[in-house]
């Protein structure tokens, strides 16, 4: 009987070892350990044994049962684990296939440039001022020291609607309008972005519609050096800490003195290259101290107040910053262009 049990044990362990299916393992359990299983069958013969042999055989039978049970349990665990592994293997995907992208749009580059400049100046205590694009001759020209017949009106041939109405040629009328609202009391600190229009035939460097952003600071004792410091902060913000600026004389009817600001050329670091026309400098914007006539017409006492103003073209800034060669890209809305400037 003892041998029989040993044989069963060996037999069962062999079968457990070779089994690969969970169901087959269950069958083995029933076959050996079930109520009608082989071991029970063997133990049925216990009655025939001598009394003193019974506990010995009983113990052996229990040991055999334990060994088989343990083998089955461990095999079961193993098979279950294998099953999980199999499933995971089957569920494996090619992670390099493209994902389901969410639709993402983006800001227009010009608007990003404008927002960037707005943010810089609002952080310095400026407000953002806006005004109409169809302007009166008065605000577009006269209030800016450009009386009718002034030669400098040639500089910006305009789209007139009536004799007194035109598409604004610059954002400067917003300065005049805002100063008027302040009723002669400073400070006025504004930044004015917007669309402007000039009689130009559209080509790579001209656009009949473009954008401008201007700044104005009117207060007591505003000096040329304040303008220089402010423009320096702007230039470094836009083009990097390592850029240098220089001011040189220019002419705008609404400022006196008038200057233009250049930044040192990034391409050649000031040595001279084709980008900067061999000068080492790139023209960025026009600026100056507000002309006393402009202050006066807007209700400010030029004896008491002075101010600076500056204006630039976001197109030009974007073109310089990103090496864009054709201004028309800003107005065709080609998605291949727009997508490059999701965020800047």
């Amino acid at each position: 009987m003892k041998e029989r049990l040993e044989t069963l044990k060996e037999e069962a362990l062999d079968q457990v070892k070779s089994v690969t299916e969970q169901q087959a393992l269950q069958d083995i359990r029933i076959h050996y350990l079930g109520k009608k299983g082989q071991i029970t069958e063997v133990l049925k013969g216990m009655g025939k044994l001598a009394k003193e042999e019974r506990p010995i055989i009983g113990q052996i039978a229990n040991e055999v049962r334990d060994v088989i049970t343990e083998a089955i349990e461990s095999k079961k665990e193993k098979l279950e684990q294998e099953a999980v592994e199999n499933q995971l293997r089957e569920e494996t995907i090619d992670v390099t296939l493209p994902g389901k992208s969410a639709q993402v749009g983006g800001s227009h580059l010009l608007m990003s440039v404008i927002r960037d400049i707005e943010d810089l100046f609002t952080s310095m205590g400026y407000q953002v001022a806006e005004g109409p694009e169809v302007e009166t001759d008065y605000y577009n020209f006269e209030a800016l020291n450009l009386p009718k017949g002034h030669p400098a009106r040639d500089m910006q041939d305009s789209f007139y609607i009536t004799e007194e109405l035109l598409m604004r040629t610059h954002t400067s009328p917003v300065q005049a309008r805002t100063m008027n609202k302040h009723e002669g009391k400073g400070p006025v600190k504004i930044i004015c972005p917007g669309k402007v229009y000039r009689r130009d035939t559209d080509d790579a460097t001209h656009s009949h519609q473009f954008t401008q952003i201007e700044g104005l600071y009117v207060d007591e004792n505003i000096r040329m050096s304040d303008l220089k410091g402010t423009l320096n902060a702007l230039a470094k913000h836009l083009f990097g800490e390592d850029r240098e600026i220089r001011l040189r004389p220019s002419f705008f009817p609404f400022t006196e003195p008038s200057v233009e600001m250049d930044i040192s050329c990034k391409v050649c670091s000031g040595k001279g290259c084709s980008v900067c026309k061999k000068t080492g400098w790139i023209e960025i914007l026009g600026a100056g101290l507000v002309h006393p006539n402009v202050l006066e017409m807007a209700g400010f006492d030029p004896q008491k107040y002075s101010g600076f103003a500056f204006g630039m073209g976001p197109e030009r800034i974007a073109m310089l910053k990103y090496g864009i060669e054709d201004i028309r890209h800003f107005y065709t809305n080609d998605v291949r262009f727009l997508k490059q400037f999701h965020r800047v």
């Binding site: 969410a102 639709q103 749009g105 227009h108 609607i161 004389p249 008038s258 000068t279 101290l289 291949r336």
Partner: protein, 809 residues
Amino acid sequence: MFISTNWLKQYVDLSHVSINQLAEDITKTGVEVEQVFPPIMDDDHLVVGYVKECKKHPNADKLNLCQVDVGAGEVSQIVCGAANVKEGQYVIVAKPGALLPGDFKIKKAKLRDEKSEGMICSLQELGVDEKYIDEAYKDGIYVIHEEVVAGQPAAPLLNLNDSIIEFDLTPNRSDCLSMIGMAYEVAAIYNKDLSLPNVQLEEAEEQSSDYISVEIDDQQANPYYGAWIIKDLQIKPSPLWLQNRLISSGIRPINNVVDVTNYILLEYGQPLHAFDYDRFGSNKVVTRLAQEGETIKTLDGEERTLANHHLVITNGEEAHAIAGVMGGEKSEVQDDTTTVLLEAAYFNPKTIRQSSKDHGLRSEASVRFEKGIDITRVKEAASRAAQLLAELGGAQVLGSIVEEGSTEWTHEKVTFNQDEMENRIGVKISMDQLTSIIERLQFDYETDGKTITVTAPPRRQDIKIKEDMIEEIARLYGYDNIPYTLPTGEMSQGGLTERQKLLREVHDYLQSAGLYEAVTYSLTTESKACRFISPDVAMLNVTPVKLAMPMSDLHSHLRLSAIPELLTSLQYNVARNQYNVGLYELGSIYTQTNGEKTQPDERTRISAAITGLWENHAWQGVQKPVDFFVLKGILEGLFDYLAIENVEFEQVQLEELHPGRTALVKVDDETVGYIGQVHPTVQKEHDLQETYVFDLNLDEILQATNTREGYKPITKYPATSQDLAFVVNQEVAQAQLEKAIIAQGQPHLQSVRVFDVYEGEHMEKGKKSIAFNLIFQNNERTLKDEEIEEARGAIVNQLEKEFDAVLRG
């Protein structure tokens, strides 16, 4: 404006500075340099040669074999292909080693067995622009007709060694429209002395007044007119030095008389005009305003009709010149001219400006007159011209100029003090420095040690007020020397307004919803300006604002909707194989009530246009083109984002839009715009597939924005979900049912959501089924089943009653 530095050096010593440095210094101090043209050639190997002998090349029909004296007794054999080379000519020789323009190096060579030691040059080969080359030398070598010696350097002779600076003059610096003006500027920069032309004139005994008298009819238009008679002139080409100077300034030499007047124009900035006296037809000059409709044939051969504000120079009867703009053909100086009537005048800048504009003629003369010339130098310039005509044309200058009017000038005086300078410039400049800068400018001044009063010279008509002097001081002090400071005034509250912040939120939302921001043109065609106008705009009784003088029909009218231009942008993309495009624009439209001429209102619109695939995931089989509900979903998302509650979409038919797929958008019962599919015929016009657009009044929307009120606690009581499906007639809109459900479901109905819409098979024709999911909830307690049953019952009853709706089992 081109400035020859060789010429400039005649007035100011510039030996201490390189040309590039000069250009940079001028740019930094006053006038922007556009470009520096380096010398074409500055080469010792280019010399004057004397052709001692010229024979046919023994082995080539078209070549000549020349023995050329190139100086110091050296005779070189040069093979020359030009047909016009002859014995006894002085020519330009490029000796071996010379480097001609285009990197053309001259070497000793053998041509058809004959050695050739250099090249006899044409002007083209020397880099001279074709337009300045006399016909005689266009197809051959250049022959020198002046006194020269063999071996003398030829580059200076032809001014090839000149550096030319091109300036971009601002309108205020018309003083720099002359060499002398530029010389003043450069002298101020470097604190140098000026040596101006020394005019020495010998006048004949005979008097100009014997030949001519002057009468000014309108002092306002013509403050001064001088006429001078120059007799016994011989018309011929100008000497090289004069031609060179004109060429370096971009003016083509013609003959000695024309060249001299142009030379004075360049040197003094004083336009002169020379009439052929014998062709002038009278012995008196009368300047007057033209009669309306009077005509004159100008030098360019054009017949021009005058108006009564155009100043003309007449012989008492007919016009011989449009004053300051262009002379008349009749009295043009010609090869046989012997007596010249030289005009030296000052015309009113405004008169000339208008005249030049009306005739579309911007001449070198008119440009200067209209900016205002230095009236005090008119006579000096005339004397200088007379002197040159005597020198170069062998002429007699008759006794003094015959003149009318006055050359007096009222000098502007500008007073300022040191503190004012400091307060504007931002740096303390000592009185000594201030006066030294004023002296460099050669302005007269007086000072009491505190204030300075400057008298602006007439050449600087831009100096009128204190600020002009601030600029003069600042620029010569040097902008580089001004410190960097920031304004020191009170702090002020900066930042964006609520509206500006909201606009940014709208941008951010739409971009995150998948749309790209577009910027399109405000000016469009007339037909586009009349399309896609939203009913809320159309009700304002508007027509598109029209430009008085558009440059083209493409941009002639102001838009009333951004949609037409956005469709153009979509079309542009699709034509470039970019089929899936979603754009939005936030911009103005311009509304003006029909027939009015007042400033239009500018209304901010939010517009979008999308086409192509919206969901595009091909390898998983998902490729959904955009549809109405995609765009509507974006819009609903925007309303939700802005916490706008009372929004309705109402089926509508609008021109240019799909009649069955368009809705009015209403906020608080007001129409704010539309959303819909572009009409298939319009789509086709643009080569577009299904395209959806919306166009809304942004300000109306922003007004309806609710600021979210505080925090609502999150309830701990459970919600109950109920599904109800109704069969209704197809015409019944979902929104109508939803409205009724919400009304009946109070107070516990939290939300209603459509989860199924069905029509077709298993459904009676003309009917559809709409299934709603309802959520009931009370924030303070658990709802009882009876309460929900009651609400449900009320809903079912109401829908049966109002819409004939049948609850599906």
